[in-house]
Amino acid sequence: MKLLLFTLFLLSPNLYAVTLNELLDKVDKLYRSDKSYSDVQMEITTPNWKRTLSMDIWTKGLDYTFVVIKKPRKDKGISTLKRKSEMWNFFPKINKIMKIPPSMMMSSWMGSDFTNDDLVKENTLRDDYNGVLTPVKKGDTLYHAILTPKKNAISVWGRIELEINKKDLYPVRQIFYDEKGIMIRTISFTDIKKSGNRLIPMTMILTPHTKEKDGHKTIIRYIKLDFNAKISDSLFTRRNLQKRR
C-alpha cells in the first residue's frame, strides 16, 4: 500500500507535466513543421495609418525563418532572415543588410505590433517557462495555463496566460504581462481551418494594451499554409538574403 502511494506520488506530477508540456509544445510549433511555407497577409492599424503587407514566409524547424515582403510595391523585396538567435533585415533599394542587435529585439518588426523577438522566438514556451495548469472544472471548454519564466531563462515577459481549447488543443488566447504584472498585449487565434492533417487558426490578432499603443492592432492572416514544403537549406543563408528579387 505504502509503495503504491509512493508510486502515485512520484507519478502524478509527472503525468501532469507531460500534458502541459505537450500543450506548450503545440503552441510553440503551431505554424511550424520540419519545413513549412506560408503566404501571409499582415494588416497593421494605428491611429495615424493603416497598411497591409503581403509576404512569403519559409521556416525550418524553430531555428530558421526567412520572410520576403511582396506588397506594397514600395516595400517589395524587403526581407528578414533569422538563423538561430541572429536576425538580419535586407533593404533592396539601398542594397543593405542590417543586423538586428539584441537591444532592438523588442522593437517593432516592419512597423507592426509584432516585435523582432516574436519572429526570432528564441524562447520556447516549453523550455523556458514553468507552467501551472488550473484544474479543469466540468463543462469548461478551455484549459487555462499560467506561465512564468524559468530562473535561468532570459525572458521579456513576466507572465504569460494561455487559453487552450480542450477539444482540439489549439490556442484561443495568449495574454502577455511584463515583470511588474502589467498587461502588455493579447494575441487571439481564430478562424480554425484544416491545413494538411492538422487544424490551424488561420487568423492571429495582436492587440497591445499599453497607453502609447492605444488604437494599434495587427492582424495576420494565413492565405496558404504548406507544412510539407520542399525547401533547400540554402534559402536560409545571408547570400540568399541579399539576392535582389
Partner: protein
C-alpha cells in the same frame, strides 16, 4: 509773469545757463546715441538670426511643437499657400517637411535632421543659399538630391557627387530607405545651423517618408517689427498655430531681453551723473541769487510762485537742451547708421557672424532719453525750489 521771469533768469546768466545746458545736452546725446546703437545691433542680430532658418513667423500643427512627430503635420498646405499669397504683408514663404533619419556611408552611421524644402522658395526666406560652400544649388525635384551640413560630410567622409543612404520610419509605418545624391555641402561654421541637416526637395522627402503633408511654413514679412501683430491677425485653421519669431526662438529672444535689461543699468548710471550735475547748477544758481529771491519775497511773491519759477527755469532749460541735443544726436546717429563701427575681428554669436555694429534711428532712442532728462530735471529742481520758497526775506537780504 512767472514764466517771463523764469525766461529772463535763464538768459541773464549766460555762462551758468550754458554750463547746465551742456550737461543736459551731453547726457541726452550720450543716452540717445547708446540707445540707437543697442537698437541697431539688436536689430542686426535679430534679422541675421531670423534669416538663417527661422523667418519672421512660422506655422505648425500645434502638437508638432512638442512632439515633432511626423504625424502632427499640416494637412491643408494648399489653402494656407493661397492665404499667404493674398496677404500684402507677406514677402515670401517656404514649406518644410522635418524629421529625423539615420545616414549611412562608407559603413559609418550618423543621426541627421532631414528637411524637405522647396528649392525655389526657401532662399527667398532664408540665407540658406549663401551658406552653401561646395557644389551647386539644385533645381530639379523628386530626384533625391541633397545638400548636407559640413559635420555630416566630415563624419561620413562625403564629397559632392557621393551617395548617401538614409533610413527612417515612414508616416505609414514602413521603413523609409533610399539612396540620395550629395549635390552640395554647407560651409563650416562654429555652431553652424546646417551641421546636422540634410536638405532635399519636398517631393523627394514626401516620397521618402510616404506622406503628402508638411510640418512647417516659414514666413518672411515686409518688416520684422510686424511679426507679433501679423501672427495675431493671420488666421489659421483649428489645430494649427502661427507664432512670431519671438516665440519660435524663445531662448534667443529671452537672452536678448536679459541683455537689454543689463543695459538699462548703464543708462541709469549715465542719467544719475547728469542729474547730479543739473542739481548742482540749479542749487548754485539759487545760492547765488539768495538776495534777489529775498527781495522778491519781500515785495510779496508767494512761496508757491517762487518754487514754480525755479522749476520752470530748469524745465525751460531742459527743453532747449533737448532741441539742441536731438539735432546733435540725429547727426551722430545717422552717421553711424551708415558707417557703423567695424570690429577688428568678426564676432560669432549663435552661428551668426557680426563684423560691424550699426546705429539705428528709432523713435525710442529719442523719446526715452528726452523723458528721462525732463523727469530727472524736474526731480532735482524740486529740492532747490523748496529751499527757495522757505527763504526768509530778512536773512536773505542780509547776505551779500
Amino acid at each position: 509773469m512767472i514764466l517771463k521771469m523764469a525766461f529772463r533768469n535763464i538768459f541773464r546768466h549766460k555762462r551758468r545757463t550754458a554750463l547746465t545746458a551742456l550737461m543736459m545736452i551731453g547726457g541726452y546725446v550720450l543716452l540717445s546715441f547708446s540707445l540707437a546703437f543697442v537698437d541697431g545691433s539688436y536689430g542686426d542680430m535679430i534679422s541675421l538670426f531670423t534669416s538663417q532658418t527661422t523667418g519672421h513667423a512660422q506655422i505648425h500643427n500645434d502638437k508638432f511643437i512638442n512632439s515633432e512627430s511626423i504625424h502632427d503635420s499640416i494637412k491643408s498646405w494648399d489653402k494656407i499657400k493661397e492665404d499667404l499669397k493674398n496677404n500684402s504683408e507677406v514677402v515670401s514663404f517656404s514649406p518644410r517637411l522635418k524629421n529625423g533619419a539615420l545616414a549611412f556611408s562608407h559603413k559609418k552611421t550618423f543621426a541627421v535632421e532631414m528637411w524637405g524644402i522647396d528649392w525655389a522658395s526657401e532662399p527667398k526666406v532664408t540665407t540658406i543659399k549663401q551658406r552653401l560652400a561646395l557644389g551647386s544649388w539644385p533645381s530639379t525635384n523628386g530626384e533625391n538630391q541633397v545638400l548636407i551640413g559640413s559635420k555630416i560630410s566630415e563624419v561620413l567622409g562625403l564629397k559632392v557627387g557621393d551617395e548617401i543612404v538614409l533610413i527612417s520610419q515612414g508616416a505609414d509605418g514602413s521603413i523609409a530607405n533610399d539612396i540620395f545624391f550629395v549635390k552640395g555641402i554647407f560651409e563650416k561654421e562654429e555652431q553652424g545651423v546646417d551641421d546636422y541637416r540634410v536638405y532635399t526637395d519636398l517631393a523627394s522627402a514626401q516620397m521618402f517618408y510616404s506622406t503628402s503633408h508638411i510640418h512647417e511654413v516659414a514666413i518672411k514679412l515686409a518688416s520684422i517689427y510686424n511679426a507679433k501683430k501679423f501672427s495675431t491677425h493671420f488666421k489659421v485653421e483649428e489645430g494649427l498655430i502661427i507664432r512670431p519669431w519671438q516665440e519660435v526662438e524663445k531662448d534667443f529672444f529671452k537672452a536678448m531681453e536679459i541683455d537689454k535689461k543689463g543695459n538699462t543699468i548703464s543708462y541709469s548710471i549715465i542719467m544719475f551723473v547728469v542729474a547730479l550735475g543739473v542739481l548742482n547748477t540749479v542749487l548754485m544758481s539759487i545760492l547765488e541769487r539768495t538776495k534777489e529771491l529775498g527781495v522778491l519775497k519781500a515785495i510779496g511773491t508767494t512761496p508757491g510762485s517762487l518754487s514754480l519759477m525755479i522749476i520752470l527755469e530748469s524745465q525751460i532749460l531742459a527743453m532747449m537742451s533737448l532741441i539742441i541735443g536731438s539735432i546733435i544726436a540725429t547727426l551722430l546717429n545717422s552717421y553711424f547708421s551708415k558707417h557703423g563701427i567695424s570690429f577688428s575681428e568678426p564676432m560669432t554669436y549663435g552661428g551668426m557672424t557680426i563684423s560691424a555694429m550699426y546705429a539705428r534711428i528709432t523713435l525710442n532712442s529719442y523719446l526715452r532719453p528726452a523723458v528721462i532728462v525732463l523727469v530727472s530735471t524736474l526731480f532735482v529742481s524740486i529740492f532747490p525750489a523748496i529751499r527757495a520758497a522757505r527763504i526768509s526775506p530778512l536773512d536773505a537780504m542780509r547776505e551779500v
